[in-house]
C-alpha cells in the first residue's frame, strides 16, 4: 500500500510562504507529477513528505498513519535527489546496499536485492565502480537503484532528469515509466518541465506561489485549464492571450478585440452571462487555429518558424502578437496579411483580474 494524504499542508520560511494549505490525495500506485515554475514550492512539498523539512502546519498521512513526527528513516519513503546524492566514497554496490545495511538486513539478502535491482536497471557491470567514474545517465540509474532496493511504499523524485542532456532525458523518461509500471509503487515526481509532466503523470498537480492551481489528468488540465496561469504554463508554444470585450448580439456571444471577432457557441457562453461590455482575456492555443479566407482573426505575418513537422507563425494582430501553428506545406511570406479561423470548441476566456476561467 502507499496512499499519501496531504491536509492543509503549509510551510513558511519566516517571511516566505513556500507551500500554502495544500490538500491532495495520492492514490496507491499512482504516478503524480508536481508541476510549476521554479520557486513555486514543489521541492519543499516533497521534502516535507520525505521528512527532511519540518511542517509549519497541516498533516501528512501515509496509509492513515500521521507522518508529521516520524523520522525520515521510519517513513518507508525513498527519494531520488536532483543532484543524485550518491556517496562518493562508496562503490555503486555499497551505495545501493547502504540503506539495507543501516536497517540491519542480512548480508545475503542485501546481495540478492542489490543484484536484482542492478539487473532491472542494467547496471550489473557498474557495481564495482565509484560514482565519480560514472556518466550522468549511469549515476541516475544508481540513484534509482538505491531507492528500489529498499522497496519503499512511496518514491519521491526531485527533478531527476534535469541534469541529463536532452536526448538522454527523453530516453530516461521512457525508462522511468517502464520502471513505474513494473514496480507499481506510489510515485511523486517534481518537475518544472511541462512536457515531462504531460508524458509521465497519471495526474498533474500544477502549483504556483505555493498554492495548488489545478489537479487532474494531463489532457484534462491541458484542455480545461482552471485559470489563466495553468493555461499559460502548460503547452509549448504557450497559449495566446489577447484582451477582448464581451458582446451579445442577436442572442449570440462574441469576443471582440482589435483584429478579431470570435463567435462563441451558445452552450459554451454560460460563464459570460451578464458580462456584456466587460473586458476579458481571450485565450487560444497555437494549434487550435487554421488558415482560412473566412477566418475571424486577421493579422500580419512577422516571423516564420518552420520546425519540420509544422510551421509556427508569429503574427501581429491589432498590435498584439499571436502564434499560430500551420501545416508545413503552407507557403507564406513576411508581412503578408492572413486570416485564421479559431476552433470554437477550443476558445478560452479568463477574468483579467482573478485569472479564473470563464469559458
Amino acid at each position: 500500500m502507499g496512499e499519501v494524504l496531504l491536509e492543509d499542508l503549509t510551510k513558511d520560511f519566516g517571511e516566505v510562504i513556500a507551500v500554502k494549505e495544500v490538500n491532495l490525495t495520492i492514490h496507491d500506485g499512482e504516478f503524480v507529477v508536481l508541476l510549476g515554475p521554479s520557486g513555486c514550492g514543489k521541492t519543499t512539498t516533497l521534502r516535507m513528505i520525505a521528512g527532511l523539512e519540518e511542517i509549519t502546519s497541516g498533516r501528512i498521512l501515509l496509509d492513515e498513519r500521521v507522518l508529521n513526527d516520524v523520522h525520515p528513516r521510519d517513513r518507508d519513503i525513498a527519494m531520488v535527489f536532483q543532484n543524485y546524492a550518491l556517496y562518493p566514497h562508496m562503490s555503486v554496490y555499497k551505495n545501493m546496499a547502504f540503506g539495507l545495511k543501516m536497517r540491519k538486513v542480512a548480508k545475503d539478502e542485501i546481495d540478492r536485492k542489490v543484484k536484482s535491482a542492478a539487473g532491472i536497471l542494467g547496471i550489473e557491470t557498474l557495481l564495482g565502480r565509484y560514482p565519480g567514474k560514472l556518466s550522468g545517465g549511469q549515476r541516475q540509474r544508481v540513484t534509482l537503484g538505491r531507492a528500489i532496493v529498499r522497496d519503499p511504499r512511496v518514491f519521491l523524485f526531485d527533478e531527476p532528469l534535469s541534469n541529463l542532456d536532452a536526448k538522454l532525458r527523453v530516453q530516461t523518461r521512457v525508462e522511468l515509466l517502464k520502471l513505474h509500471q513494473h514496480l507499481a509503487a506510489t510515485s511523486i515526481y517534481v518537475t518544472h518541465d511541462q512536457v515531462e509532466a504531460m508524458t509521465m503523470g497519471d495526474r498533474i498537480v500544477v502549483m504556483h506561489e505555493g498554492v495548488i492551481q489545478q489537479v487532474g489528468p494531463p489532457m484534462e488540465v491541458y484542455q480545461n485549464p482552471a485559470n489563466q496561469f495553468v493555461a499559460g504554463f502548460i503547452g509549448s508554444p504557450a497559449m495566446n492571450f489577447l484582451s477582448a470585450t464581451v458582446r451579445f448580439e442577436a442572442g449570440r456571444t462574441f469576443l471582440e478585440g482589435a483584429g478579431f471577432r470570435i463567435p462563441l457557441p451558445t452552450e459554451r457562453a454560460g460563464g459570460l452571462a451578464g458580462r456584456e461590455g466587460d473586458e476579458i482575456v481571450f485565450g487560444i492555443r497555437p494549434e487550435d487555429m487554421r488558415l482560412g479566407a473566412e477566418g475571424e482573426i486577421e493579422g500580419a505575418v512577422e516571423i516564420i518558424e518552420p520546425v519540420g513537422s509544422d510551421i509556427f507563425l508569429d503574427l501581429s494582430v491589432g498590435g498584439a502578437s499571436l502564434t499560430a501553428r500551420v501545416e508545413s506545406s503552407v507557403r507564406m511570406s513576411q508581412g503578408e496579411r492572413v486570416r485564421l479561423h479559431a476552433d470554437p470548441a477550443r476558445v478560452h476566456a479568463f477574468d483579467p483580474e482573478t485569472g479564473v476561467t470563464l469559458v
Binding site: 520525505a50 521528512g51 527532511l52 525520515p72 528513516r73 517513513r75 519513503i77 525513498a78 527519494m79 535527489f81 536532483q82 543532484n83 546524492a85 556517496y87 562518493p88 566514497h89 547502504f98 540503506g99 543501516m102 536497517r103 565509484y130 560514482p131 565519480g132 567514474k133 538505491r146 529498499r150
Partner: protein
C-alpha cells in the same frame, strides 16, 4: 625577438629564480647538517667548509648523553600525537556543527572562534596557565596537551571542508536509516579525508617542536619535550654548537618523516573520494 623565444626566456628566468629560492631556503639546513659533523671549532670557520675533512659522527652519541634525550623525545611524541588526535576529533566535530547544523547565532560562534586566531600565543599564555594551574595540571601530560588539543584554525579548516559536502548526501543517509553519529562517521569523515590529512600534518608539525607552552607548564625533567632539552643544552655547554646541531638534525627527522607520509595519504585521499572531478 620572436614571441616564442621570449616565452622560452621567461620560462628559463622563472626556473632560475625558483632554483635560487630553493637554494636560499635549503642553505641553513645544509649548514645545520654540515655543522653537526664538524668539530666544535670548525663550525665557525670562515669561509664555510661545507664538507669537513674528517666527519665527526661521534657528535651524535656525545650530544645524546648531555641530557635525558630519550625521555624528551618520548614526551614530544606523546604530546604531538595526543594534540594531533585531539585536533582531529574536536576540530572535525566543531567544524561539522558549524557547517551543517542550523542553530541560533551560528555565524557569531564561528566568528568568535575565528577571532581567537588573531590573538598571539603570548597574550593567552598567562590566563591559560592560570586555568591549567587551577585544574592542577601543571607538570602533567594533561597540562601539556589539553590547551592545544583544539585549534581555531583546525576548526576553520574542517568547517570549510565539510561545507563543501552537499547537504543532500547527509539527507540521503538520513533517509537510508543512518543515525546522526553514523552520518558523521560514515559520510562526513570519509569525504573530508584530504582536510583531515592536512590537519593531522599541521597539528603534528606545529606541536612536535612547540617550545613556549611546554617551557611554561613543564618544569620537571621527566616532562620536558625535545625543544626544551635542546634549549637547555645552551645553558650546559654554550660552545657545543656541533652537538646542538646534531640534536637539531635528529629533531627534524620525525617531522620530515610524518610530512612525507601524510603527503602521500593526502593525494590518495583526494583521488579516492572522487569528489573532485
Amino acid at each position: 625577438m620572436s614571441r616564442k623565444t621570449m616565452l622560452r626566456l621567461g620560462g628559463a628566468l622563472i626556473s632560475v629564480l625558483t632554483v635560487g629560492g630553493v637554494v636560499v631556503m635549503l642553505l641553513p639546513y645544509f649548514w645545520m647538517v654540515s655543522s653537526s659533523i664538524k668539530t666544535g671549532i670548525e663550525v665557525f670557520d670562515l669561509p664555510i667548509k661545507w664538507i669537513p675533512d674528517e666527519i665527526q659522527w661521534v657528535n651524535y652519541p656525545n650530544a645524546l648523553t648531555k641530557g635525558a634525550f630519550g625521555v624528551y623525545f618520548f614526551n614530544s611524541f606523546v604530546v604531538a600525537f595526543a594534540v594531533m588526535a585531539g585536533n582531529l576529533v574536536f576540530c572535525t566535530l566543531a567544524g561539522y556543527g558549524l557547517a551543517k547544523f542550523r542553530f541560533p547565532h551560528r555565524e557569531l560562534c564561528f566568528r568568535l572562534i575565528l577571532s581567537t586566531l588573531m590573538l598571539p600565543l603570548e597574550i593567552v599564555l598567562v590566563p591559560t596557565f592560570l586555568v591549567v594551574r587551577e585544574l592542577g595540571l601543571v607538570n602533567t601530560y594533561g597540562g601539556l596537551i589539553a590547551p592545544l588539543a583544539v585549534d581555531a584554525f583546525g576548526v576553520f579548516l574542517m568547517r570549510q571542508s565539510i561545507r563543501d559536502i552537499p547537504d543532500s548526501l547527509i539527507e540521503a543517509a538520513r533517509m537510508d536509516g543512518c543515525s546522526e553519529f553514523g552520518i558523521f562517521w560514515r559520510i562526513i569523515l570519509p569525504n573530508c579525508k584530504p582536510a583531515l590529512g592536512a590537519l593531522a600534518l599541521l597539528a603534528f608539525r606545529d606541536n612536535w617542536d612547540q617550545f613556549l607552552w611546554p617551557f611554561i607548564v613543564a618544569t620537571t625533567d621527566d616532562l620536558k619535550t625535545f625543544p626544551l632539552g635542546l634549549a637547555q643544552m645552551e645553558g650546559i655547554d654554550s660552545a657545543a654548537y656541533h652537538e646542538i646541531m646534531a640534536l637539531a638534525v635528529l629533531g627534524m627527522i620525525p617531522a620530515a618523516f610524518i610530512f612525507l607520509f601524510f603527503q602521500r595519504a593526502f593525494v590518495r585521499g583526494i583521488t579516492l573520494t572522487g569528489l573532485k572531478e
